[in-house]
Symmetry: C2
Subunit: 526 residues, 2 copies
């Protein structure tokens, strides 16, 4: 009998949608070709000794090569370690060691990093479209494809849905990165539910089989938020942008007819900038975005330009949890746009609780902040890999303690307002730094903003706003903006920071997020 | 950790869609109430001694009671035997015995049948909305609900997705009914994929969270083709028609705002008749239909009346397999309507093969007939229950041999033209009786038609058409109709029956299908 195993998806798609394209500039394939290449690649890798349970590190941007490896390694029952190339090199090498990578499959663009892993992993395959290998004697992916036979390897039928498919390490704010091992069934269920939700609910990023998809989220982030599985599963056209910058992504959207993309708000901002620079007035694109609520100004600009968006909430330690859906009524209304920008609806079969300190669920008032925990059929069952201490803290009684703070909107949607570690506890009440940051960032002269907790004798903590201006900026304008937002009910008056400090540059992490730890050090707040 | 277990669906829906309605005339509940009742019912049943592994026969039409039992029995880890009340009483009692039913939960409308099972099952619960029990001393469902506590029974958290959820027996054309045991995961995956497909593809019966659903397929048929799970999963409004006839169903559609219903073609015909009788000119309804291709005349009449349809293919021994999707282009075009009426697209993760006698896949020419086999992650792993002989014949190397004959349309869709046992093998070629029946039924004076195989010395078999006319009917008109269809390329000329016989009444089976076995006996063809 069949099980929920990754390569089953491609087998069926190669039969039912053989001629649909996978574009990976400068190359393009049909699903039938991609399937054939994946089978040959599996046999080639098998010839190197990679097999059931082998742990294989992969370093690449979003290309056909990375996609083929998803299915080839699945057919072998091997474990794919999706290397997070945005980690500092030291942390990256730690993850190679901790996961026990036996092989490194690296794009030549990451050659330096791949060579730095030499003491840990001496066995390499090079991911390149060129004919010759960057290192004589070390095979390339194309050589393995060319040399591999076209019949699925015998291991393929023995892979079970309870086998581990991949391993990934998240950026930790403190300590070393944490590893998560995903079984085939967990990864497929979580990935496919993203698509199913987008298909069944009205929203900004409605998905259908007629769409053309382009993931701007790297494959190492939960396999590009599930795209590596759910687009082939749907049999839809897939465009893989490789290392294209925002201008290149815009070109692909227009030339390949991309109708659906995923990206974090920063990438959306860059894409809109690129469109403006290119004189593109309308960008009809469905965007699944996440990582944080979509800032209001960015949301308005995107919507006015033709972009329709939905917000997703989840993460490496919990996989897919909830996605925005338009409330009843006009999905183009201001109210619907606001819900799509901020609030998410738990996926079917996912239970989300937002609880106050006493354990009581928060009212659906859009104001009372509680801690968010999650239970679903696809939580990684073992918690963190080889890390019982941190696993016990995060996975309690079958629930994942997200460490995120959330409110429930009047329609019941979950609005994640902040990471618990980023929020400010003032007079016993939570002040969500992310909400303050969102309001302050609406000022057109604000390039970046971070709100930190500053110790306070009377209140315990008080917010400190650190602002990176673009051009002249008067702090009093920001204060007036915050006062107006408080008057409009968007924030409580006591949330308004006592101090607003202008800096030349706010540091960012390897994941492109504000590096609050570095900032705290700079302000002596650690 | 959570698993794919039936009652998980209701727990999440009761939290996220508490106020959405489940209508079961004359009563109506919210999902929060339905959840509360299901928990209390579970505890009430538990008090009777029903628990993990208990086999419980259920006899009811589509009501809130039957739906509540789905979730209550799931919480106990009990096995629900969905009794097929359309079987002859003798066969029904055979299934009660074969499944090992320990309890019988019966609607009072089936009281006679329930009493007939007395020697086999003495323990009964009566499904009635009335205050008193039809049998003193035997409890009613309402008493159990009223007496049950509101906290989920302790068994609920221990139920696993590999546990058996339900058992069902299909009508066999030969021999005793065959039983299938469905595990929680198989039933949920198969059910939810129906909804997901309808949400992701353009077609007649597109589904969204904004729809109101009414199953006209009885719950015993794969839980009303998955409706018992996928509507609560979606958090959408559900209307359960109980024993409403076509006029009553029409009333419910109009009064409750039903937008989506499932039904076999016969039920659609009756619904359209009821609409015409009531002077209803437009019936905007999305219909999922199956059991056979939708006859052309019925399809046209339905479409003109506002009905949009999709065809589903599957069955008790394979669960959900494929569903129609509109091809690219205008979904309202004649060509798209024809595909939606006849062809289906395999669900993602389902592999379908249509093979000629030599094992080669049939070309996508819409003409070459082959045998259909299926592989999916939700095939019942043990085959038929306690029936190794017939299991070995039907489940081979992980494939289910459907015994159905199909062609592939030019777009790749699977058009199931006939059951193998119903088709005619003439001169070494298959003649699909169902296609001939569809053409003949287009004549407005044809009330019913069955095409049978008649032994023939020269050809092996030749088709015999048995027609039940409504009013005066000249057999030569039918012959002319068939000749025109052959000229249009809809059938091969050698398919045209040599004999066309008019009869007063064609017998039907318990499932409402033509009773070909009885008809064969009548014509001495067995």
């Amino acid at each position: 009998m069949r099980e929920l195993v990754a390569h089953q998806i491609l087998w069926r798609t190669a039969t039912e949608s053989p001629d649909v394209e996978v574009v990976s500039p400068p190359r393009r394939f049909t699903y039938a070709e991609l399937h054939d290449r994946s089978v040959r690649l599996a046999n080639g890798l098998r010839g190197l000794g990679i097999g059931r349970g082998s742990v294989v590190g992969v370093l690449d941007v979003n290309t056909h090569r990375y996609l083929e490896l998803h299915y080839a390694l699945s057919m072998l029952g091997a474990v794919m370690h999706t290397l997070n190339f945005r980690l500092p090199a030291d942390d990256l090498l730690y993850t190679v060691q901790h996961a026990g990578d036996e092989w490194l499959l690296a794009w030549e663009g990451f050659g330096e990093l791949a060579m730095a892993a030499e003491p840990l992993v001496g066995s390499r395959v090079w991911l390149t479209d060129r004919a010759e290998s960057p290192r004589p004697g070390e095979p390339t992916l194309e050589e393995l494809v060319a040399g591999g036979t076209a019949t699925a390897p015998p291991e393929a039928d023995g892979v079970g849905e309870g086998d581990v498919f991949s391993i990934f390490y998240t950026t930790g704010t403190t300590g070393r990165p944490r590893g998560m091992r995903y079984r085939h069934r967990d990864m497929l269920l979580a990935s496919l539910q993203i698509l199913h939700h987008l298909g069944l609910h009205r929203g900004g990023a409605e998905a259908t089989a007629a769409d053309t998809f382009m993931p701007l989220i790297p494959f190492f982030h939960i396999h590009a938020w599930g795209t590596a599985f759910f687009v082939p599963y749907l049999g839809a056209k897939l465009v893989l942008p490789g290392r294209a910058d925002a201008a290149g992504q815009l070109d692909l959207i227009r030339s390949e007819g991309v109708t659906f993309a995923n990206m974090v708000p920063t990438q959306l901002h860059m894409l809109l900038e690129a469109a403006e620079a290119a004189g593109v007035e309308s960008l009809p694109l469905k965007v699944l975005t996440g990582g944080s609520a979509l800032p209001r100004g960015l949301a308005r600009r995107a919507w006015d330009g033709g972009v329709r968006y939905s917000l997703i909430y989840g993460g490496s330690d919990q996989l897919a949890t909830s996605i925005a859906a338009a409330p009843a009524g006009d999905p183009e209304s201001e109210a619907a746009r606001e819900v799509l920008r901020t609030g998410t609806v738990p996926l079917p079969m996912v239970e989300v609780e937002v609880r106050e300190a006493d354990g009581a669920p928060v009212p659906h008032d859009g104001a009372t902040i509680g801690e968010l925990r999650v239970r679903s059929p696809w939580l990684p069952p073992e918690g963190y890999y080889r890390d019982p201490g941190r696993s016990r803290e995060a996975y309690v009684d079958g629930w994942f303690q997200s460490g995120d703070l959330a409110v429930r909107l009047p329609g019941g949607e979950v609005y994640v307002v902040d990471r618990e570690r980023d929020a400010i506890k003032s007079g016993g009440e939570w002040i969500p730094s992310a909400v303050l940051e969102a309001v302050i960032s609406e000022h057109r002269r604000v390039a970046a903003v971070a709100v930190l907790a500053e110790p306070d004798e009377r209140w315990g903590e008080r917010p400190l706003a650190v602002v990176q201006p673009s051009g002249d900026l008067d702090v009093e304008e920001l204060r007036a903006l915050l006062e107006r937002a408080a008057a409009d009910g968007r924030l409580a008056r006591f949330w308004i920071p006592d101090r607003i400090v202008l800096v030349e540059q706010i540091p960012v992490t390897s994941a492109g997020k504000l590096h609050k730890t570095a900032l705290r050090e700079r302000f002596g707040l650690t």
